[in-house]
């Protein structure tokens, strides 16, 4: 659909906050936002380009990593220091989309993308997550959906979120700082949002406090490249502590209990197969981070 939006590349935080508080939608690389607007998802009058805020840094300092909100995915994937100390994130970033999409997409855009559910994104349907009454996926074809029952059975798609979650990252917004997991929420009857961002709030950066001793990202897509993960598992080992995070299996990027990784993920009618897949990916990821 072609229609016109107001586009503003904001130059300071106050203006960004003002426009976003007024219903504007944040633009990073546009690889998700434009496809949403094209289908009438989360309609807005104003597109707020955050790339002029100087939030595109990738900085490794004192063993700590700061990923700016508008740093490009491709830059994360090819950053030498990221690869050296936070290889998990380079792996996650490198697995996203295609080279072209990685060159456009941004860190915050990837973290904040909406579910890829084919009903949610269907231009002619208004599903529960979009404010309607019906989760079409539950009564329809949910072969790629989650393992967790609920009002909405779409899955969190961000590969980068899996890596950051496993590394114990924090995310900062223009208003607060919080563990990454708190950026996400399961949508509820009275609030269908999948993010905890308030009106006017936007992600400014993600920070990783320390490198893991060893880490790995394993995922399976629908083809060898340029596919969202059917499931992905990031694993990081800090001494004896194992942190496992999965995407593609629940509404939110999910921290798994290494002792019982499938807990709370019983599978749905058409997704039982994903339990086997997840279990394999967990085994592979854990094997990859075993002490030498």
């Amino acid at each position: 659909m072609s229609r016109l939006w107001t586009y503003e590349r904001v130059g300071n935080a106050a203006r960004a906050e003002q426009l976003l508080a007024g219903g504007g939608r944040a633009l990073g690389g546009g690889t998700d936002l434009l496809t949403q607007l094209d289908r009438g998802i989360g309609d807005t009058e104003t597109v707020v380009d955050l790339r002029g805020l100087g939030l595109d840094g990738i900085v490794v300092e004192d063993g700590r990593l700061r990923l700016g909100a508008t740093a490009r995915i491709a830059d994360v994937a090819r950053h030498a220091e990221v690869a050296a100390l936070f290889g998990l994130l380079a792996e996650c970033a490198g697995s996203i989309g295609s080279q072209q999409l990685r060159e456009m997409g941004t860190v915050a855009g990837n973290l904040c993308q909406q579910p890829r559910c084919w009903y949610f994104r269907h231009p002619d349907l208004r599903c529960w997550l979009r404010g309607g009454d019906t989760c079409y996926a539950q009564i329809g074809d949910h072969r790629k959906h989650g393992l967790e029952p609920g009002d909405c059975i779409s899955v969190a798609p961000s590969d980068l979120a899996a890596g950051l979650l496993a590394l114990g990252a924090e995310v900062e917004t223009n208003r607060r700082s919080m563990p990454l997991a708190e950026l996400y929420r399961r949508p509820s009857e009275d609030d269908r949002s999948t993010l905890t961002l308030e009106p006017g709030e936007y992600v400014t950066q993600a920070t990783v406090p320390r490198p893991a001793d060893k880490s790995a990202y394993v995922r399976v897509g629908e083809r060898a490249a340029w596919s969202f993960a059917l499931a992905g598992v990031a694993a990081a080992r800090f001494g004896d502590e194992h942190r496992l995070a999965a995407i593609g299996v629940a509404n939110v990027p999910r921290l798994l209990d290494p002792a019982d990784p499938l807990a709370g993920l019983p599978g749905l009618e058409m997704t039982a197969w994903k339990r086997r897949l997840l279990s394999t990916l967990v085994d592979d990821a854990v094997a990859a981070i075993a002490a030498d």
Binding site: W118, V220, A224, A225, W226
Partner: protein, 745 residues
């Protein structure tokens, strides 16, 4: 002298009788003892530069002064009646020049391009043309359609139960299947579910129409400019000579773009009414909902064999989901014609569904029919304890099993041998391994038509600069047929391939040519091009003979020179052509009919090696060996490209491609490329490609078609390789991690 002859041609399984004008062909055959020069040498595409620099004009690139943008209102419902549609409100939108409702298009086309009873989600209801896309979108919104939703049927079972058919169910039988099955020592029962594969040509359906007082010009992405012209002339009651259809470049079609299409109909009617050029381009989503797909099908077999693996009987049936259109593609033809089986009964049920119309798709019917049959054959081989390739050899058909006709040529047995050698077939049992990843190797045979035939005409001319121009009345689907035409002409004219320009894709040019389908374009046009080139050659040599005072029979054209056979005389061709001034030497040629009473078929064998990760369900195709028998190869580089593309498309069918229809709403949920996955280069296996074909002795220039053969056996070979690897046969494609894990659970 021109003659009118009646000919028979097999086009994608349908026999067509037609009258055609042919001229006497005085062109000598290729000397089989000597390679015919440039023919058979790899050549880059004559259009390569313009394609990669962006200079090539595709239909979507056409911009005319005053051109309007068109948009189509489509029903979101699987079956509905239009209860209200505010055409006046749409017409009142600023910048809107023309609005068409269902009543305005009721006489246009056999299936009206717009309907007030849209029978599938995505069916067109109204169309608008406006000064800008945004104005056209606003007009669509202003139409404010009200739909009365009706019940619908989308799955095959319900459609079969409803007993509505696109074509009457058909049956054919030879021999006595029931008796032969009862007597067979081994009987297997086997059923397969083929998915609907979407064409997803890079360029979606599109047309630009320019209706003027002195005639109509339509640019459109079509596989048959002449068929489009005929449809336009009939539909709009125009003299065909006043209708010009142009398709100089197209970004693929794969069978979904024969003739005019709704985009051409609507663009033309909008242009006729608005008296402005109108451009209509389908979105990817519209394309995938309304512009065709490979038919999904349930294919069942009972196959009886003796203990030695010789086929005794095949009972075959297929339920084909044709949506709201298309035709019963020859899905059981492989069961009837691939092997020497004396008793075959085949029944086809082409059911109607509330889905867009099916369309031909690269080897329609035969590809999915082969996918099923060739896996059932492996099941027979397993039951009788025979090597799958040996089973196929034992059932080789020496003549066409249905008609008893001899083949013009058949090198299927050689294909098996060569493919086995290249693949390392004999050591396939050592591939498997005991770990989590299991490897397997599977084979499949390929059967198709592809002999080409008349009518096909070509014109060749050469001017002062000695840069020949070949004109053919066809469109290049993307196969590189123009390059092949240049190669064929270059051999007669003794100039380099890149000295030749090929004009095609425009009905205003000379000569009527074949459509791009049925793997028949090159086999049809090449003899006409060579004949036209030969006429020019003869005249040039006559001119040279006069100039140099030597007999023309002592002269030849080679490497840009006119040479005497004894080598004493060598002059650049331009020494003769420069005397032409602004005149040309021209020649024309036509395609002669194929021999009567013979079967013209292409054959081949592919062997796939796969690795199955039994813990993730991921199937990786590691290697495909493709050996095809398609007669003479004109351009090995182009031929290999066809094979690579075909294998990738077959791999897509096998591993990832599948239209998904929501059972609750009847709408397609993966109509965009985000959800509908086609293979990427990262999925590409190693491809080993060879051709066993020497020239077919009964066909013009010995050429058989290659467009469709490579896609036919790939998915079957992959299915057989998976079964070999893990001992489990998946009954439904694509073989996704989900299906693989469910099957292994």
């Amino acid at each position: 002298m021109a003659r009118l002859v009646r000919t028979e041609a097999v086009v994608e399984g349908r026999v067509e009788q037609r009258y055609t004008v042919v001229e006497d062909d005085i062109t000598p055959e290729y000397d089989l003892d000597r390679p015919p020069g440039v023919v058979g040498r790899p050549a880059t595409r004559v259009t390569a530069r313009s394609r990669v620099t962006g200079a090539a004009t595709f239909t979507t690139d056409v911009r005319l002064p005053g051109m309007l943008e068109a948009r189509v209102l489509r029903s979101p419902h699987a079956n509905a009646r239009v209860a209200a549609l505010d055409l006046d409100a749409a017409r009142a939108v600023e910048g809107v020049r023309c609005v068409l409702g269902p009543a305005d298009a009721s006489t246009l086309g056999e299936t009206p391009a717009l309907s007030d009873h849209p029978e599938f989600a995505g069916a067109a209801v109204a169309a608008v043309a406006a000064d800008s896309g945004a104005a056209a979108e606003a007009a669509l919104a202003a139409l404010a359609p009200v739909f009365e939703e009706l019940g619908f049927v989308t799955d095959l079972d319900s459609a079969l139960a409803r007993q509505e058919f696109i074509e009457e169910p058909s049956e054919s039988e030879r021999g006595d299947v029931a008796a032969a099955l009862a007597a067979a020592e081994v009987v297997i029962e086997s059923e397969f579910d083929a998915p609907a594969q979407m064409h997803n040509a890079l360029e979606s359906h599109c047309a630009v129409a320019d209706w003027r007082a002195d005639g109509l010009t339509v640019w459109t992405s079509t596989q048959s400019i002449y068929q489009a012209r005929e449809q336009l002339a009939t539909m709009f009651e125009l003299d065909p000579e006043r209708v010009r259809v142009i398709c100089q470049f197209m970004g693929g079609g794969f069978g979904a773009k024969f003739g005019l299409g709704a985009e051409g109909v609507l663009a033309t009617e909008l242009s006729r009414r608005s008296r402005r050029p109108v451009r209509l381009v389908f979105s990817r989503r519209d394309e995938n909902r309304a512009a065709g797909y490979r038919t999904p099908a349930r294919i069942s077999f009972s196959i009886g064999a003796d203990a030695a693996g010789r086929l005794q009987a095949i009972e075959a049936s297929a339920v084909m989901g044709l949506g709201t259109g298309g035709w019963a593609y020859p899905i059981l033809e492989p069961a009837k014609a691939l092997y020497a089986c004396p008793n075959v009964h085949a029944m086809v049920l082409p059911v109607k569904q509330n889905l867009g119309p099916a369309a031909a798709f690269r080897a329609p019917g035969v590809m999915e029919g082969t996918w099923a049959l060739e896996q059932a054959l492996d099941e027979v081989a397993e039951r009788v304890g025979l090597d799958p390739l040996e089973l196929r050899r034992r059932n080789h058909a020496d003549t066409d099993p249905g008609t008893g006709r001899p083949y013009t040529s058949k090198r299927l047995l050689e294909s098996y041998d060569r493919a086995a050698e290249l693949a390392g077939w004999d050591s396939r049992e050592s591939l498997r391994g005991q770990g989590r990843v299991r490897r397997g190797m599977g084979c499949a045979s390929q059967y198709w038509w592809g002999g080409g035939g008349p009518p096909a005409y070509a014109e060749v001319r050469i001017g002062a600069a000695a840069r020949p121009v070949v004109t053919v009345g066809l469109q290049d689907l993307g196969t590189g047929v123009q390059t092949a035409c240049a190669i064929v002409a270059a051999e007669r004219l003794g100039v380099a391939v890149d000295e030749i320009s090929v004009r095609a894709g425009d009905t205003a040019l000379a000569g009527h040519g074949p459509f791009s389908g049925g793997s028949m374009t090159l086999a049809s046009i090449a003899p006409a091009v060579r004949s036209a080139g030969h006429h020019v050659r003869t005249q040039l040599l006559d001119l040279a003979a006069e100039m140099f005072e030597i007999s023309a029979t002592d002269l030849t054209l080679e490497e840009g020179e006119i040479r005497s056979v004894d080598g004493a005389l060598r002059h650049p061709i331009t020494e003769v052509t420069s005397k032409l001034g602004n005149a040309w030497v021209t020649g024309s040629g036509s395609r002669a009919p194929n021999p009567e009473g013979m079967a013209v078929n292409t054959f081949g064998c592919q062997i796939a090696t796969v690795a199955v990760d039994t813990a993730t369900g991921v199937v990786r195709v590691e290697r495909v060996v493709a050996v095809h028998d398609v007669g003479r190869i004109v351009n090995p580089m182009g031929a290999r490209s066809q094979v690579v593309g075909g294998i990738l498309q077959g791999l897509g069918f096998a591993l990832m491609e599948e239209r998904v229809i929501d059972p609750t709403t009847g709408t397609m949920v993966n109509a965009g490329l985000e959800d509908y996955k086609i293979p990427t280069l990262a999925d590409l296996p190693e491809i080993v490609c060879e051709f066993v074909g020497q020239a077919d002795p009964h066909l013009g220039l010995g050429i058989k078609g290659l467009g469709e053969p490579p896609v036919i056996p790939t998915a079957a070979a992959i299915g057989n390789a998976i079964a070999h690897a893990v001992g489990v046969r998946l009954r439904a494609a694509p073989y996704t991690p989900r299906r693989m894990l469910e099957a292994l659970a």
